[in-house]
Symmetry: C2
Subunit: 544 residues, 2 copies
C-alpha cells in the first residue's frame, strides 16, 4: 500500500511543472572558489571598545629574561620557548602569535611557550601563577573576537605541540585526543574508521579541538549532532595554579557529582587550559543530499522548516536560510568573478532555504526528499527548487549560501552581527534594522545615504541569524544608528549577542545585553574561584 502511494506521488511529481526543475536540477555551476576562512572586517564595536580598553593591569608582573630561563628549564626541549627577551626569537617571529588572523587584534607578548605534555603545561601555569605572570592560552588562533591572542604582554601558551590522538574506541565511538589536534586532521582520522567529528567549521584546517571546546564552537553540524555540551564526555584541564583536573575517559553516563567539565566548555581559556578532550563521535553518513528552494515569505520559511523536520526527520543535517538581498549579492559577485549568468531558479523568491540530508541509505534519503518536495509544492510553500544530482552540484548549491559573507564584503564595508534569537522573531530584526536606517535617512537611494544593502541569513535550525550591513565605508554616524540598537532589539527578544563566536575582547563590554546582572555576578564568582589571581586570559570575557 505505502509503496504504491509513494510511486503515485513520484509519478505526480514528474508531471507537475515546477517538479521538472526539482528533478533535472540546476546545471552544474563553476562558482568562484571560496576561501575556507570567513570574510571579516573591522567592526565598530572593536573601535569603540578600543578606546575604553582597560589599561594593562599593574597586578601582573613584567616578564624578564630570568622568567624565560626558568620556563625553559621546565620543558623537555628548550625549543619550546621563543622569546625576544633572551634573543631566541625576533618580534617578527612572535607576530603570528601576537596578532589574530584577521589582523584586527594585536598583542605585544615577548614570550611564546609551546609545551609538549600536560605536565609541562601544569608546571608552567604553576610558575606563572606564583610569579603573577598573565597567560593567554592559544590554539589555532582562528577566533573572531580577539580571544586567543594577547591584549598586552601576556605570555602566549600555544598548544600546537600537543597534537596526538590518545585513543579511539570503535565500539562506542569515543575519541580521546590532545587539545592541539587540528579539527580536520582528527576528522580525517575518523573518516577512515567510518566515524565523523560532531563539529564542522570553515576554519577546520587550522582550528584546534581544545580551542573548539574552549569556545563552545557551533558550526555547520550543530542541527544534527547537537552542541559540545552534549558530545564532550570528559576533559583534561590545567587550572591556573597548575592543578590537573582530569575527567577524560570513555563514559557516556556518569552521575557522580557536579558535571564540572561543562564549565570549561565555552570558558574561552579564562579558568583553565584544556589539554585533552574525550568526545562521542557518531557514525559517518554514507549518503548526502542537498536542495535549495525559493519561497515567498519568512512565514513560509518557518512552515517549510517544520515540514522538513517532519518529512526528513532523522536525516536532516542542515537547514540554512538567506534572503533575496543576500542571493542578489551572491549572483552579482559571481558575475563580477567572470561567471556566465545562469538561471538557477525558474521562479525566484523573497527567501531561499538550503536543506541538507545525511543518512545511511541514499535511495531512502532521495525518496524522503522527493516526498518532501512534493508535499511542499502541493501546499504551495515553495515557489521553486533545485536538487543536486552529483558531488559538483552538491558543492555548487552549498556555495549559494557559503558565498554570502564574501559577496557582502565585495559590496562595501560590512558591519557584521552574529545573533541568536527565537526562530519566529529572527527575520524581524533584519526588517527593524532596515527601517531604522531608513528613518535615519541613511539609505543610498534616498540621496546622501551611505548604506548600500542590509542582508539577513543564517542557520534556521539553530536560531542563529547573521545580519550584514554593507556601507560605503565605516562611519561613526552609521555606527551610532546601528549600535547599541542592534543589541537592544536582541535583548528585547531575550536573544544572544553572540550565538557562536564568543565574547573575547570584542564583546566583553556588551555581555549585559544577553545576561542578567545575577548571571554576570555568578560568573565573576566562578572566575574568582578558579583563578583568584586572574592570570588567565585577562581583559576579556567576563571581566572581574
Amino acid at each position: 500500500m505505502r509503496r504504491s502511494a509513494i510511486a503515485l506521488a513520484r509519478q505526480a511529481a514528474r508531471t507537475v511543472q515546477p517538479a521538472r526543475t526539482l528533478r533535472s536540477s540546476a546545471s552544474p555551476m563553476a562558482l568562484p572558489r571560496q576561501t575556507s576562512a570567513p570574510t571579516n572586517t573591522l567592526t565598530p564595536v572593536f573601535k569603540r571598545f578600543g578606546s575604553s580598553l582597560p589599561p594593562r593591569s599593574e597586578a601582573y608582573a613584567k616578564a624578564t629574561k630570568e622568567h624565560v630561563e626558568h620556563i625553559k628549564s621546565l620543558l623537555s626541549s628548550p625549543n619550546g620557548v621563543m622569546s625576544t627577551l633572551d634573543g631566541s626569537a625576533s618580534a617578527d617571529d612572535l607576530q603570528p602569535f601576537n596578532d589574530d588572523w584577521m589582523n584586527k587584534y594585536h598583542g605585544k607578548s615577548q614570550i611564546v611557550v609551546k609545551p609538549k605534555t600536560t605536565q609541562e603545561v601544569s608546571e608552567i601555569l604553576k610558575y606563572c601563577n606564583e610569579q603573577g605572570l598573565a597567560v593567554v592560552p592559544q590554539g589555532g588562533n582562528t577566533g573572531l573576537v580577539g580571544g586567543s591572542n594577547p591584549v598586552y604582554d601576556e605570555i602566549i601558551l600555544n598548544l600546537s605541540n600537543m597534537a596526538s590522538i590518545r585513543s579511539f574506541d570503535e565500539v562506542s565511538g569515543i575519541l580521546t585526543c590532545d587539545a592541539g589536534c587540528i579539527l580536520e586532521t582528527v576528522d580525517n582520522y575518523l573518516a577512515e574508521k567510518g566515524f565523523i567529528f560532531p563539529l564542522d567549521l570553515g576554519a577546520k584546517g587550522s582550528c584546534q579541538i581544545g580551542g573548539n571546546v574552549a569556545t563552545n564552537a557551533g558550526g555547520l553540524r550543530l542541527l544534527r549532532y547537537g552542541s559540545l555540551h552534549g558530545t564532550v564526555l570528559g576533559l583534561e584541564v590545567v587550572l591556573p595554579d597548575g592543578t590537573i583536573y582530569d575527567s577524560l575517559g570513555g563514559l557516556r553516563k556518569d552521575n557522580t557529582g557536579f558535571d564540572l567539565k561543562q564549565l570549561f566548555i565555552g570558558s574561552e581559556g579564562t579558568i583553565g587550559i584544556i589539554t585533552g578532550v574525550s568526545i562521542l563521535t557518531p557514525k559517518r553518513p554514507t549518503a548526502m543530499n542537498v536542495a535549495v528552494f525559493s519561497l515567498s515569505s519568512y512565514e513560509d520559511v518557518q512552515k517549510v522548516y517544520n515540514e522538513t523536520k517532519a518529512g526528513l526527520g532523522e536525516i536532516l543535517s542542515a537547514f540554512e536560510f538567506f534572503d533575496k538581498q543576500a542571493y542578489e549579492l551572491v549572483k552579482r559577485h559571481m558575475k563580477e568573478g567572470g561567471e556566465a549568468e545562469r538561471k538557477v531558479f525558474e521562479n525566484e523568491g523573497e527567501f531561499y532555504v538550503l536543506v541538507e540530508t545525511g543518512g545511511s541509505n541514499n535511495d531512502h534519503d532521495e525518496e524522503k526528499l522527493q516526498n518532501l518536495l512534493e508535499k511542499l509544492m502541493e501546499n504551495e510553500l515553495i515557489q521553486d527548487g533545485v536538487l543536486a544530482q552529483d558531488q559538483t552540484q552538491f558543492h555548487s548549491l552549498w556555495k549559494l549560501r557559503e558565498l554570502i559573507p564574501e559577496s557582502a564584503g565585495k559590496a562595501g564595508s560590512v558591519y557584521k552581527y552574529d545573533l541568536s534569537v527565537p526562530v519566529p522573531k529572527m527575520y524581524s530584526l533584519v526588517e527593524k534594522m532596515r527601517e531604522r536606517l531608513g528613518e535615519a535617512g541613511l539609505w543610498k537611494e534616498e540621496g546622501g545615504g551611505r548604506i548600500r544593502e542590509v542582508v539577513g541569513y543564517g542557520h534556521i535550525g539553530d536560531g542563529n541569524l547573521h545580519i550584514n550591513i554593507c556601507a560605503d565605508k565605516y562611519d561613526d554616524e552609521i555606527e551610532k544608528v546601528i549600535e547599541p540598537y542592534v543589541y537592544e532589539i536582541v535583548a528585547e527578544e531575550r536573544g544572544s549577542i553572540s550565538a557562536e563566536h564568543g565574547l573575547g575582547v570584542m564583546k566583553a563590554p556588551y555581555i549585559g545585553y544577553s545576561k542578567s546582572q545575577t548571571s554576570i555576578d555568578m560568573m565573576k564568582q566562578v572566575k574568582k574561584m578558579f583563578d583568584p589571581k586572574g592570570i588567565l586570559n585577562p581583559y576579556k570575557y567576563v571581566v572581574v
Copy 2:
C-alpha cells in the same frame, strides 16, 4: 541499480532459513503486566551507610510553629503548607513526603511546603536561609538513592503545585515548562503536536521535569537524543538565598559567558531549586520497530553493535543487551506467572540484544532492518532473531528486556549495581563478580553457598551495565565479598559507580571511587559558593 540490489537481497532473505524466523517473528506473547516503576530492594550499601550516617547537624535551626506561620504568610494560599507543628496535618499526612517510594529511606520532617510560583519559592528559600532552616527539594519523589526525601527534619519543598507548560514553539521545538510538570503529561502534550520529550523513564507517570533535570536522568532514549546537558537550553533556578537565576528562553546557541545552567543539571537539589526548564524537543518518530537477536559471545555483542550503528545509523533508538542468565530468569518468571512456555528463538544464545528503531518512514526503516539482519546472518554474528510484526509483539519483545529487574527480584534478595564502564570492558565486570563469589565459595551449587544467580544486562549504547546478584537473603558476609570490590573494579576501568541514579544519600560516601580528590575538592568549592550555609539537601551528594 541500488533498488534492484536491495530487491535481490530481500529475495535472498526470504529464502535463507534463519530469516524465516526473522520475518515471521515470534508469536504474540501475553507476558505478565509489568508495573511501570522499577523493582528495587534494600541494598547493603544503604545498610552500611545507615550506621555511618552523620548526625543531624546542630547548624540547622529546629522548625517551630512560628516558622510555619511565617512561611504560610509568604504563600498566596495557606493550603500550600502542611505541618504537624500547627496541627494542619498529621504525621500520616506527611509520610508520603517523608518516605521514598521504595520505603527504604525515611525522613522526619514536620513541614511540607507546596509553593505555586517561582516568587514564592524565592521567598521561602530566602526566609529559610536567614533562619538556618534546612530544606529538601522534592519533585515526584521517584529517585533510587534517597535524594528527594529528608534525612532528618529538613523542610520539604515540593514542586507539585507548579505544573504548567509555559510555552511551546512548533518551529524550533523548544518547550518551556514549570519544574513540577509530570514527564508523561508533557510527553502527551508534545505527542499531540508531533514532538517527543527527549527523555523516557519507567517512572514517567510520576517523575517531574525539574527532578529529571536535577538528577540528570538518563533513561531509554539517551542513545538517540543524548543527555540533558545537550538538550536543556535554559533553566530558572532559585538559589539558597532566594536569588532567581533565569536563563529560560528559546535559544539553541548562546556563547556569552560560562554556561552556568549546566551546573544545576545533575546537582540533585544541592545548590538551587529548579523551578522552570526550557528544553529542545525533537519531532516524534512516526515509525517504530524492534528486534531481538541471540548471540554466542560478548565479542559478538560489540560487533553487532558496530554493524547496527552503521546499518541503522540515524534510525537506531535503543541497543540493549542481556545475558543468558537474565533471559532464563525472565523465562522462569513468565512460566511462574502462568504463561504457557513459548519458544521465542530456535537457537538460544549466551547473549541477547534488543534493537529499536525510530524513524519517519516505516518502509525505509523495515528495509534497513532487513538489510542489517541479512548482513549479521551472513557474517554469522547472530544465531537467531525475532522481529516484531505489530504493536503487541513490539511490547512483548521489549518485555524480554524490561522484565529482568522484576524477574531477578522474584529469584531472591537482590544486590543491585548501576555502573558505567567502557563498552569493551562492560561484561568482564560480571565475570569478575562471578569468579569472586566462586572463590569465596558462595555459589549455591558448591554447597552451603547462598548466591543463586548473577546476571548482567543494560544499555550497550550508553555503556551502562546493571549487575543483579540474587542471594538467599541479605547477609553481611556476602556484602563484604561484593563491596567495596565492585566499586574497586569499576574504578580500575575509570568507570562510574552511578551511571544514572545519582549519589543521593546512598552513594554519597563512595564518590571517591569515581572522582578524584581534585574533582571532589572543586565540587565542595562549588557547593560552598552557591550555598554557604549549606541549607539545601544536606547529608547527601557531595558532603561538605
